[in-house]
């Protein structure tokens, strides 16, 4: 018995040592330029270029799936890139991390981009992440409230620039002033909505719907969106870089978007596997697999425009955003839309 245990321990030690050696060899090989292709096979290629990708939130969630898939399925490695994901200290730190060189490519809202340009932070949006606006006003499941009932009600806001901009559109459409509603900011929205402490929640469908369904046995919230509440259909999130980075590393920016496009398409075609990749990479994200699955499935329809294209930005989206931000006094003036973006790095589709 003892002998068997000893032999078992010895075998385990040998296997563990082999594993460590294999890991070490793998690490060395990667440093030396060996990459794992999308098919999973080892291929020799040029040394990998490191791209520091900064997310818009202090922790990972399902909107990170295209990046995770790009890393896990080898799309970035096949493009000669090693993408390291960084998480900012706060939701407003991503732009600053890009500006200081702590990150290379960032994931930010278009309103953050506008604020960055207004603050003379030399950022440039290189692609849209989402192509449509899924920002929505929610009432709890079964609520009889309508979009015409906003006056005098408590409306939740995350306090971010995007929500402020969208609320400006909503109030204007409803013919209300800011003093005619009570804006509530808090660290969490769903418990407040479900407990009746707020009348309306504001968020995007891909985050709020799975959260509310999770809190109320799958019941769907009451939703008011788009033209119904006067909100323009403009993209929310973009990939951004500094102008200096774009000028110095155009090939890397192109390669990043090309690989991200492949990863995004793969994640759309294989949603369950994409969520599995996310759960595997971030098992302690704090989100359940059910939440991430619902959230990702709600994100997929947002990623292409009416022409079926990914990433492509327009003057109109930035001009409309500027109008909203000027109306809510977040911007003093509107720069030319071209100040914000370039489509030069977007791959052919």
């Amino acid at each position: 018995m003892k002998h068997l245990v000893l032999r078992s321990a010895l075998v385990s030690a040998v296997i563990a040592s082999s594993g460590l050696v294999a890991v070490g060899l793998s690490a060395n090989a990667q440093a030396a330029g060996t990459a794992t292709g999308p098919t999973g096979s080892l291929t020799m290629s040029a040394p990998l270029t490191t791209v520091k990708f900064v997310y818009d939130f202090p922790g990972p969630d399902m909107e990170l799936i295209p990046i995770v898939v790009g890393q896990d399925q080898g799309f970035y490695a096949a493009a000669g890139l090693k993408v390291n994901t960084l998480f900012p200290a706060s939701t407003s730190s991503t732009s600053a991390m890009l500006a200081t060189g702590a990150g290379n490519v960032g994931f930010i809202t278009t309103s953050d981009m506008a604020d960055a340009v207004a603050a003379k932070v030399p950022l440039e949006s290189i692609a849209n992440y989402s192509m449509t606006n899924n920002w929505t006003i929610f009432a709890k499941p079964g609520s009889k409230l309508t979009a015409a009932d906003l006056k005098g009600k408590k409306i939740f806001s995350w306090g971010d620039t995007w929500t402020q901009t969208m609320l400006g559109f909503v109030l204007k459409h409803a013919g209300l002033s800011a003093s005619q509603v009570t804006i509530v900011t808090a660290s969490n929205d769903t418990p407040l909505l479900m407990d009746g402490k707020i009348d309306f929640d504001t968020s995007t469908t891909n985050y709020a719907v799975p959260a509310i369904q999770g809190a109320d046995n799958g019941a769907k919230p009451v939703m008011f969106t788009g033209a119904q509440i006067g909100v323009p259909n403009i993209p929310i999130w973009v990939y951004a870089v500094t102008k200096a980075y774009a000028a110095a590393h155009p090939a890397t920016a192109k390669a990043f978007l090309a690989a991200t496009l492949k990863a995004t398409k793969w994640a759309i075609a294989n949603p369950a596997a994409a969520v599995n990749d996310f759960v595997k990479m971030y098992p302690n994200s704090g989100y359940s697999k059910a939440y991430s699955t619902t959230g990702w499935n709600l994100t997929i329809p947002l990623l292409k425009n009416a022409a079926g294209k990914f990433f492509v930005q327009t003057d109109a989206q930035w001009a409309t955003l500027d109008q909203g931000m000027i109306a809510t006094k977040q911007l003093k003036s509107a720069p030319a839309p071209s100040t914000y973006y370039t489509n030069a790095f977007i791959p052919a589709q």
Binding site: A96, A99, V121, G159, A186, P191
Partner: protein, 268 residues
Amino acid sequence: MNWRRVLRNVFGPIVSLAAVIGIWQAIIVWGHVASYIAPRPLVALQAITSNWSILWPLTSWTIKETVYGLVAGAVIGVVFGVIMAKVPLLARTVYPVLIMSQAIPIVALALPLVLILGFSLMPKVVIVAWIVFFPVTVNLLDGLNNVDKDLLTLARVLGASRLKTFFVIEVPGAITPLFSGLKIGATYAVTGAIIAELAASSGSSLAEYQRAQAGQLNAAGVYGTTILMTAIGISWFLLMLGAEYMATPWRRRSVARRGWRSGKQKLQ
């Protein structure tokens, strides 16, 4: 007036404050730090003065939160400290719970408090009081437990009642540690108020204003708000320092007051 004393007490803090501002300015200028990362001190101050009409109502609201929370926390802290000092069994029973209360992240408390108490002033006051009471309790308890035993024995020999002994010997003996707790609590009170404002606010708050400035990459606005928050904390600390000065005349006076000398303050 003792000018040497005034110089020692005022000149030192002014020099250290000037040094902090000088180092801040030097880092920004010599480090070529961009204005959206960190502003120069004067620019941060200008962000306060130029937005004073917006900032003052928010600041006065935060002051109100800290005052109510500080008073509530101090009262609760003193009550706990005295009871625990007088009932050792209770102290042994309650002390672990008090320590546990401070180990709970305040952020985790904030949402349940909002769900129970709503968006009024009350949850903010509770959070500030939660932060303030602990250093007051611990310091007062230590102070009361470490009163000179010989003095207590002397009071007993002279036939002083327990109440008289408490007020004439134990309270003065514990007043310095009590004020240490109050000074710590007063400084942290503003931190509690800001955490509470971030956790949930109805309408605007100083913390929300700062968050909005951060979102707009307005570093001057962020630093300006931080200066205001710091000023509130320092103000409460100085207020406690003043109260301590008034409450501890024996530190400045080696001779007993005239009334004491004439026998008006006998032990019995």
